[in-house]
């Protein structure tokens, strides 16, 4: 059953269409959102997170209509959100900031609220830094503080805008574990530039570019689109759309292969690069891992 539906949703900033009449339906589980910078990912996530109102189209989130104030409040009771960037009020510790967010999320009973704060602090692995001031934490730790507040109350909808930015591999692994378990019941939409995270976590992937959906399907189907189009060679081939020297010293070429080359299995990154490249975007492609 769908928990989120966007029907021909558009959003413009001045003359720029950040989202151009996009339709999308999400059910419980984890969906990855890929796309170059300026593709409209953050705008889409902000609309889903009720931070922005759509200019056109219909949005339904968890059965509520976020175009009304009461609908937004209803969605927000069941929402966990990680924005692309955020700051923190000065002087707060990890615990007091998450407690502050819990107050804003209407946890009025102090005993229950503190217990819930401790639960998410433990869940995200922040116990060691709970009494520390946020100003003294590393960038990765602060990112995890934002994730921890998103997990308050085990929300039915998690909207995560580049949640793995700044995390080291061990922290990313732990986050995948946490999200994997949350995704068994919650609807999770993750925007990221890390195709490895999408491949590891998401069954479904949506690729956005220029405010339009280029692809919506399973990771397997997207990877399949690159079959027969990735090969290894000693040098970069002129026909390759993308090529880079790998750790083995050989060059991984992605594009339309000449006859007789050594084809290899594609991965999600290859398929993503081909898809976005063929869409004719001139956006800067992110350095995907």
């Amino acid at each position: 059953m769908n928990t989120v539906t966007l029907t021909e949703v558009g959003k413009s900033f001045g003359r720029t269409d950040a989202l151009a009449d996009v339709s999308l339906a999400l059910a419980p589980g984890i969906t990855g959102l890929l796309g170059p910078n300026g593709a409209g990912k953050t705008t889409m996530l902000r609309i889903l997170a009720t931070a922005l109102a759509a200019d056109r189209g219909t949005v339904r989130v968890l059965g509520a209509d976020p175009s009304t104030s009461s609908g937004r409040t209803e969605v927000r009771r069941h929402l966990g959100y990680v924005p692309q960037e955020t700051g923190f009020p000065r002087g707060f510790t990890t615990f007091s900031f998450i407690d502050y967010m819990a107050i804003l999320k209407m946890w009025s009973d102090p005993t229950q609220r503190h217990a819930e704060v401790r639960r998410v602090v433990d869940l995200i692995g922040l116990s060691d830094v709970a009494p520390k001031r946020l100003a003294a934490l590393s960038g990765g730790q602060r990112r995890r503080v934002v994730l921890a507040q998103a997990m308050l109350g085990e929300p039915d909808l998690l909207v995560l805008d580049e949640p793995t930015t700044g995390l080291d591999p061990a922290q990313r692994g732990r986050l995948r574990d946490v999200l994997g378990r949350a995704g068994e019941s919650a609807t999770i939409l993750i925007s990221t530039h890390q195709t490895a995270d999408v491949a590891a976590l998401c069954e479904r992937v949506v690729v956005l570019d220029g405010g339009r959906i280029l692809f919506d399907g399973t990771v397997v189907d997207l990877v399949r689109q690159a079959e027969g189009r990735v090969w290894l060679a000693q040098e970069r081939h002129p026909a390759a759309r993308h090529a880079w020297r790998t750790g083995t010293g050989r060059v991984r070429n992605v594009g339309d292969p000449p006859p007789g080359v050594e084809l290899i299995e594609p991965d999600l990154e290859d398929a993503y690069l081909l898809l976005v490249g063929e869409a004719g975007t001139d956006s800067e492609l992110e350095a995907v891992s």
Binding site: A53, Y81, S96, H114
Partner: protein
């Protein structure tokens, strides 16, 4: 190390449940020092709940958010700990801001007390602008670094706005009122600056978040300063706070507050483009 004999399970159960006599308990403990097997049996019999409770209590004590000075002062004034925490995030409660307010007010108050019209003019310029600047500094995307996160919580935006505005006023208005009351001139002068202050705050809130609150407050500040200085040059600095002007400013304040209330359903959205 293991003993050659073992405690009866019923004895261990009594010990685990805390029913042993002092002498019996000491005997059990003496045996447990020597016998690993009985220790293992006891671990299974020990109820986990008291240990978990003790651990939770320790963590609650160590990790509980320590209320800062501002929060403690607000709580002592009768505010709930939740409201005090929400206010502690407001820039107007930072030490630097409070110190700045105090310094400017003392400066203006002393000037007003020492020199007749010039000092009075200075006080009339400064007094209403301080709470307006406090409100401007406490709202909008630039003022609250966690604005986007706070926006998408179910907490009422209008309630938060009023709470924060009340907090800003509480941080500057009492001192200003006291200073106004000790100034030379009519007693009502000590309160006369409140109407332009309320008008400035209401205007700032009415245009937020569509326009930058700092810019709005700056425009209001320039306009107000111009009005006060013009009155001074025309020989009557009190003209800006006389009854007719008070009525005009009150009308502006009411109009702007009506806009705030009418726009409150959209206060909970990000105002400016990303």
């Amino acid at each position: 190390m293991s003993a050659t004999w073992h405690l009866d399970t019923s004895v261990l159960e009594s010990y685990a449940a805390g029913r042993s006599t002092p002498v019996g308990g000491a005997s059990v403990e003496a045996h447990l020092m020597e016998c690993r097997e009985c220790g293992a049996v006891l671990r299974e019999l020990m109820p986990h709940e008291p240990l978990d409770q003790a651990w939770r209590a320790i963590r609650a004590h160590v990790e509980a958010p320590r209320a800062g000075l501002v929060e403690r002062v607000l709580a002592s004034l009768g505010l709930s700990s939740e409201s005090a925490r929400l206010l502690a995030a407001v820039p107007a409660f930072r030490g630097a801001w409070l110190l700045g307010v105090f310094t400017v007010l003392v400066f203006a108050g002393v000037a007003a007390a020492l020199a007749d019209d010039t000092g009075l003019t200075l006080f009339l310029v400064v007094a209403p602008l301080i709470p307006v600047a406090g409100v401007a500094a406490s709202f909008g995307g630039d003022a609250d670094p966690a604005h986007e996160l706070v926006t998408v919580t179910p907490y009422s935006s209008l309630r938060l706005l009023l709470l924060r505005t009340g907090g800003v006023l509480a941080s500057s208005v009492p001192v200003t009122v006291l200073l106004g009351l000790v100034l030379p001139g009519p007693a009502w002068l000590g309160l006369a600056w409140l109407t332009p202050a309320v008008a400035g705050i209401a205007l700032t809130l009415a245009v937020s978040p569509r326009f930058d609150t700092t810019m709005t407050a700056a425009v209001f500040g320039v306009g107000w300063s111009f009005a006060v200085l013009s009155a001074y040059h025309l020989g009557d600095p009190m003209a800006v706070v006389e009854p007719l002007m008070q009525l005009v400013l009150a009308a502006v304040a009411l109009l702007a507050l009506a806009v705030v209330v009418l726009r409150s359903p959209s206060l909970d959205l990000l105002g400016r483009n990303p």
